[in-house]
């Protein structure tokens, strides 16, 4: 069986190379036979990868421990579902999964675009086949999932890491991989357009849908990752700025930038070089992200491990990729140059330029900060850590600026906005901003970033609402229907725009959730049975500790009751699970009680079964559920934008009179209570600050003390906390304590952010420089655009053909009138 698997991989490589050769030859010679043959070969790679996947999954399911990969990631007692998901649990399998997804999506893309974009298809196939070949080469030569033990195989499997044995394992990696792989297709079409010189907007149309789908799955994968970290890791947060997390975020930024700037190309014919560059960069970042997590270049809990050979191979591929792609961009530059100019800075084009600048700056900043430790070690030999404080300090203001733009851009006109225009569009949203800002201040919320965020959320929310209302009015006036029908018709007839607005609404809700983190509260409580303690208005009473077990694991559960204002809210049961063969890595089973206003989040940090004494780490996370809800709305918006027009055929029908009031009444009954804002209590501020400043010295989790995912089982963390407390009691200041830890540890990598001195100034300064340079470049390009005289549009009709054109123009007007 394993030999058959290896054979299938080899066969796929050969077939992919044939697809590459036949497509290139067919494209150059315009030979339909060769092109069709190449397409058939590409379909065959998908089928062969399905066979290979079937073989490895069969091996997992039948417990074939002769195969090293199966033995490493499975054991007999593992549930069937996790045996199957172990396919992508390790490095080798994840690469095979990548190739499978690439071949399947590529097949779908080619099959659906074969007639429409006939000239591009051979090159699309060639590029995707080349990418497949690279990954299969890695597998066959170095990381073969079908490798067997040379001597006798072990009788037992090692089992999947307990942290991975939850249902998120089934959806998070596939979603992320789908997002990454889907970005290959826009790249392939973009390169095909460059190679053939067919640079009109046709390639954009082929590509926009795929970018949206990839973007949706990438967002889904990232949100699932956040949920997973929140529910399973037990440090009370959901994003640690870990290199692997950042690797997923980088292409997200460039893909978002592309989805926006593509609109400028479609409307005004501008930014064509830039769009092609964005597509290339997005694909490059997906490969780079894969490289980061598999080569050992950066340290991460997530990483698959260190592998020099793999790092070298990936580097070679990336250099080849960049050279090839940008060579073609430069070659085709004359064809790509825009013919239009920027008329005004108060235009939507300008807003999109700023949007792109911010998103690209964010991507660059995160990339730089993630690679800075490696850079520092290479240049100065000094290892340091760039942790959450550094990222948060930068990303908060950037996020707020992005939020502002989300509100402003849709209200600006194309080409130029007049003052009266601006006044008319901005009055209500700015009013909402001021009112909310005042309310936030009056309620005593003093965390400035959260307060500003609330006000901006109101601003953007008001702009979106205004767009819907005004759009429905216009449509109502044009079609003579009632408001409700007009609203439905509005969304149906302008799916992309209004779907996009709904996506923005989802983003606003997610920002609302992020703002809540500004005043979250944590407390550790050590309790005997019957004792209770309070944090942020919640009283937690410890009842008992129970010990149970099943086939796979032993479970230690702490039972607590939670009260608020004297009333019992819930009984919760945080636990620790000890899996057989992985007893040193118990999992933290967090108990969460969710509400729109806040979550109460309890972790069993320590326990003594004899005395029934338990220590709980209790966190109150305000507004965190709005993040998950926000994603749901974002997905709905994307779905609306993606659906084919046929799906909205019903939109023309009129809705019966009473329906509107009834539906609204029903909706109001179903809505839960409004979110309650928490006032801030600054407790133990210094201790909290230091837990953010210092890295956990256990050496395993690579996280600051307040983010350690192994909290509770981490012995190093407990001692370190006591040490910090002792230092605070002695009256040492923040800087003194940090210096003491650096002395003791023997290096500055115990701090979660690089100290501001010498070479490290680069880390702090470079983002400023990059941001300023980016802004200057954008400004320069825009300025030159305003200087360039507009070239006249090619006249729509030659003189001799006027009668024909008139007839066609009349027909066109008829068809427009008939269109809804």
């Amino acid at each position: 069986m394993p030999a058959l698997g290896t054979f299938t991989l080899l066969a796929t490589f050969v077939v992919a190379s044939y697809a590459l050769a036949a497509s290139i030859a067919g494209g150059r010679r315009r030979s339909r036979a060769l092109i069709e043959s190449g397409v058939g070969a590409f379909y065959m790679t998908a089928a062969l990868m399905a066979v290979a996947s079937g073989i490895i999954i069969h091996a997992f399911v039948t417990d074939n421990y002769a195969i090293k990969y199966v033995q490493r990631y499975s054991d007999v007692a593992q549930p069937l579902a996790y045996k199957i998901t172990s396919y992508w649990g390790g490095l080798d399998g994840s690469i095979m999964f990548w190739v499978l997804l690439l071949s399947v999506f590529g097949t779908i893309a080619v099959a659906s675009n074969r007639e429409r974009h006939r000239e591009l298809i051979p090159w699309v196939v060639a590029i995707m086949a080349a990418t497949e070949m690279f990954f299969i080469f890695i597998m066959v030569v170095h990381n073969n999932p079908f490798d067997t033990f040379v001597a006798s195989a072990p009788a037992e499997g090692k089992g999947l890491n307990p942290l991975l044995q939850n249902f998120y394992m089934a959806i998070h990696p596939p979603s992320l991989y789908t997002g990454f792989v889907a970005m290959t297709i826009p790249y392939a079409f973009g390169m095909a357009a460059l190679i053939t010189g067919h640079l009109d907007d046709a390639w954009l149309r082929a590509v926009r849908r795929w970018t949206m789908i990839g973007w949706l799955f990438l967002t889904f994968g990232l949100t699932l990752g956040m949920l997973w970290a929140y529910e399973e890791l037990g440090w009370g947060g959901f994003w640690g700025w870990d290199p692997v997390e950042n690797a997923g975020l980088l292409p997200w930024f460039t893909a978002t930038a592309f989805l926006h700037s593509v609109m400028v190309q479609e409307r005004r014919g501008m930014l064509r070089v830039w769009n092609v560059t964005l597509v290339i960069t997005t694909f490059f970042l997906t490969i780079f992200g894969t490289f980061m997590t598999r080569s050992g270049v950066v340290q991460s809990v997530h990483a698959f491990g260190e592998d020099r050979w793999l790092a070298g191979l990936f580097s070679g591929f990336m250099i080849l990729l960049l050279t090839f792609s940008f060579a073609y961009v430069i070659y085709r530059l004359p064809l790509l140059k825009s013919r239009h100019e920027l008329d005004s800075w108060f235009s939507r084009e300008a807003a999109f330029l700023v949007n792109n600048w911010i998103l690209l700056f964010s991507a660059f900043f995160i990339l730089f900060a993630t690679m800075f430790p490696t850079l520092s070690e290479a240049v100065r030999g000094q290892r340091l850590t760039v942790g959450p404080p550094f990222f948060n300090q930068w990303m908060r203001p950037i996020g707020l600026v992005l939020l502002v733009l989300t509100g402003i851009a849709p209200l600006l006109a194309w080409k130029k906005s007049t003052v009266s225009n601006l006044v008319q569009q901005f009055t209500w949203p700015v009013a909402a901003l001021i009112v909310t800002g005042a309310a936030v201040f009056a309620l005593g919320i003093r965390v400035w970033s959260s307060g500003i965020c609330f006000a901006l959320c109101a601003f953007v929310g008001a702009t979106i609402l205004q767009e819907f209302i005004r759009g429905a009015s216009v449509r109502k006036g044009a079609s003579g229907s009632d408001y409700f029908t007009a609203l439905v018709g509005l969304v149906a007839r302008q799916q992309r725009r209004y779907g996009g607005y709904i996506v923005h609404l989802g983003i606003v809700l997610m920002f609302l959730g992020f703002a809540g983190q500004g005043y979250k509260q944590e407390k550790d409580m050590q309790l005997n049975p019957g004792e209770q303690n309070t944090v942020a208005g919640f009283t937690v009473r410890h009842d008992s500790i129970a010990v149970t077990s099943d086939d796979q694991k032993q479970m230690i559960t702490g039972h607590v009751t939670v009260f608020r204002n004297g009333k019992q809210l819930a009984q919760m049961a945080p636990a620790r699970w000890f899996f057989a063969k992985h007893e040193s890595q118990p999992t933290t089973e967090v108990a969460i009680r969710r509400a729109p206003g806040e979550d109460i989040y309890i972790v069993l940090a320590a326990y003594d079964i004899g005395t029934q004494n338990a220590t709980y780490a209790v966190t109150v996370n305000p507004l965190v559920n709005w993040i998950w809800l926000g994603f749901g709305i974002l997905a709905i918006g994307t779905g609306i934008a993606l659906l084919p027009e046929r799906a909205f055929a019903f939109a023309g029908a009129r809705v019966p009179e009473g329906v509107v009031t009834t539906s609204l009444l029903l909706l109001m009954l179903l809505l839960p209570g409004v979110a309650r804002a928490q006032t801030v209590i600054q407790k133990d501020a210094l201790r909290q600050q230091l837990e953010g400043d210092l890295m956990c010295t256990c050496g395993g989790c690579l996280a600051p003390m307040n983010n350690c995912p192994m909290a509770g089982a981490c012995h190093g963390l407990k001692e370190q906390r006591e040490k910090v407390n002792r230092m605070i009691d002695q009256g040492m200041t923040r800087e003194q304590i940090k210096a003491a830890f650096v002395r003791e540890h023997g290096g500055v990598d115990v701090l979660s952010a690089p100290p501001d001195e010498g070479f490290n100034r680069l880390a702090w300064a470079l983002p400023y420089v990059a941001g300023a340079t980016g802004a200057a470049l954008v400004g320069l390009v825009a300025y030159r655009w305003t200087r360039r005289p507009a070239m006249p549009e090619a006249p729509a009709a030659a003189g001799a053909e006027v009668p024909v054109e008139d007839a066609l123009a009349a027909r066109l007007d008829d068809e427009l009138r008939d269109l809804d």
Partner: protein
């Protein structure tokens, strides 16, 4: 997926591979020793995938042995026509969107005129392409009729179409097949001038 038409009624090449996969899957399932349902399902799926791979292999080979088809002389297939219609619908939608934007105050009337002008030109171009598709079909049908009826000699090439006086007298080329120029370039069936040398082409039908 196969581009070959079969001569047998109702039997298509893919059916052969489906049958083959089913038989192989049956054999594999019968021969498999561990009999848990998930094992059998996986075996069947894997054998099915192998059958699919075989079908794709056929798909890989078939175009290489099929009679040579010139890519540039393909008439508009149904799919291409459907795609052109879709393209036209999209362009019309964009025009409607611009009108909506103007109503919402997002575009000034002058800018509106300029931007719709471009879109209207594109829509008219597509409409012309769709119209000419029907004339291209007629050319292909006539040619096939000639081939099938066989004995009937080719119709004498008609006199050149009456040319408006304003157009310069360019050399008229008598083409053996629609769209082929004397320089050897194959153009669209409804082309009037060669796209590489610019010579005036013979039109088969008007």
């Amino acid at each position: 997926m196969s581009s070959e038409t079969s001569t047998n009624d109702g039997f298509h090449v893919s059916h052969f591979f489906v049958l083959l996969s089913l038989m192989a899957a049956t054999v594999a399932v019968v021969m498999a020793r561990p009999a848990a349902p998930e094992h059998l399902i996986l075996i069947s799926l894997t054998v099915g995938a192998a059958g699919l791979a075989a079908l794709c292999f056929y798909r890989l080979l078939a175009p290489l042995v099929a009679p040579h088809v010139d890519m540039d002389r393909q008439p508009l297939s149904d799919r291409l026509r459907a795609d052109l219609e879709r393209e036209k619908a999209l362009t019309l939608r964009s025009i409607k969107e611009l009108e909506f934007d103007r109503a919402m105050g997002k575009v000034s009337p002058a800018d509106f005129e300029e931007m719709t002008g471009r879109l209207r030109a594109r829509a008219i171009g597509i409409m012309k392409q769709l119209d000419s598709a029907s004339s291209a079909y007629r050319a292909v049908i006539e040619k096939e009729l000639e081939q099938r009826l066989g004995a009937k000699p080719a119709a004498p090439t008609p006199a050149p179409a009456p040319v408006p006086a304003a157009v310069k007298a360019a050399p008229v080329v008598h083409a053996a097949a629609a769209g082929t120029c004397a320089c050897g370039t194959v153009n669209d069936p409804d082309a009037r001038f060669c796209k590489s040398c610019g010579a005036r082409l013979q039109e088969v039908t008007q």
